[in-house]
Subunit: 209 residues, 2 copies
């Protein structure tokens, strides 16, 4: 049915392509970089890219996964370093927002996709395959979710709702700052601080007695 790729997925060339693509994404925006531009910058022909990646989107997807894996590592280090869970919540939330602002293209690919998701087919639904960007983003977010669970100190069934709502808050600011940079925003630092306060206040009001 689906022959996934024609050549092996290992090699220096593959890494070089990813490096070049990441640079071009940063220079011109991920959406307006073509396979021909990448190939020319690498020094190979455009069809040769398909020996290393199944589709053009696969290049962006892999860069996205790698970026979020870096965030995930940073999160785990933070979770280990900051013992007070309230402080940890602040640190993680801030790092999450700043990551999005530092890697807007990766954040866009993961959470503001152009194409509609296809419904899961049958029982073989695998998030890693279907939406690798989301999967990588969620690995990072898991630290935030766990910290929220720690703060609440128990499980009353409200955990998912609260975690997902705080995620929506943090994502919302990140997403808007990325997609509408020329909106007359209040000072960015004050917006971030306000969002973190909002999360704290809400979480405090939802604490398990």
């Amino acid at each position: 049915m689906n022959e996934p790729i024609r050549r092996a997925r290992t090699g220096e060339r593959r890494e070089q392509i990813l490096d070049v693509a990441l640079r071009l994404f940063g220079e011109r925006g991920a959406g307006s970089v073509t396979t021909r531009q990448i190939a020319q910058a690498v020094g190979i022909s455009q069809p040769s890219l398909y020996a290393h990646f199944a589709t053009a989107d696969a290049i962006a997807d892999e860069l996205c996964v790698r970026a979020f894996d870096v965030l995930h590592t940073r999160f785990e280090a933070m979770a280990a370093a900051v013992t007070d869970p309230w402080d940890r919540l602040d640190a993680l939330g801030r790092a999450y927002i700043e990551f999005g602002l530092e890697h807007p293209d990766m954040y866009r690919i993961a959470f503001m996709p152009t194409r509609q998701m296809q419904p899961p087919q049958g029982m073989t639904f695998d998030l890693e395959t279907t939406d690798p960007g989301l999967a990588a983003g969620l690995r990072a977010f898991a630290s935030l979710r766990d910290t929220i669970a720690t703060i609440r100190g128990g499980d009353d069934g409200e955990g998912p709702v609260i975690a997902q709502t705080i995620w929506a808050l943090v994502h919302g600011l990140t997403s808007l700052l990325i997609s509408k940079p020329y909106f007359p925003w209040a000072q960015r630092e004050r917006l971030i601080a306000e969002v973190l306060i909002m999360a704290r206040v809400h979480l405090a009001s939802r604490r398990i007695a």
Copy 2:
């Protein structure tokens, strides 16, 4: 092959194109509808579209503006009908989220753009021209912002930060529910309710004494 064409009156054809495009957007997703598909469904040639719209994106932009203008009208009616400002905040927030879920393509175009914004050129920066989708969305959001100002009952300079943060919250949930429909979300109604509670609690903690 060539049947006699009864010419539409000026403007009718344009409306017909918009109607057909809206239907196709709903059926296949805005991102994967081409000018040729629209033209075929209308019954004209593909280049003929350019007699009515400057670019392909202009069709989507106009549909987006119209959709948000409907939301704006609904908001103003609500603002007039619901006198208690706390209840009004709930009603507006809920309507905003539900609007996004009912018109995911329009919401995407307005707030999850594919291509990077161009920096404003010179002094002639006009939001309506540069980003009509955002402009229409903000007209709608203005009601929410005004209600927040009413609740706070004064101006201590914190208004913009608070309004933008609550916007981020509401937008965040809307955006994630649209872009990640297959994520294992908590019950949608509970998520919406939680977001509205979060806004209320935050706003209460930020009230002017």
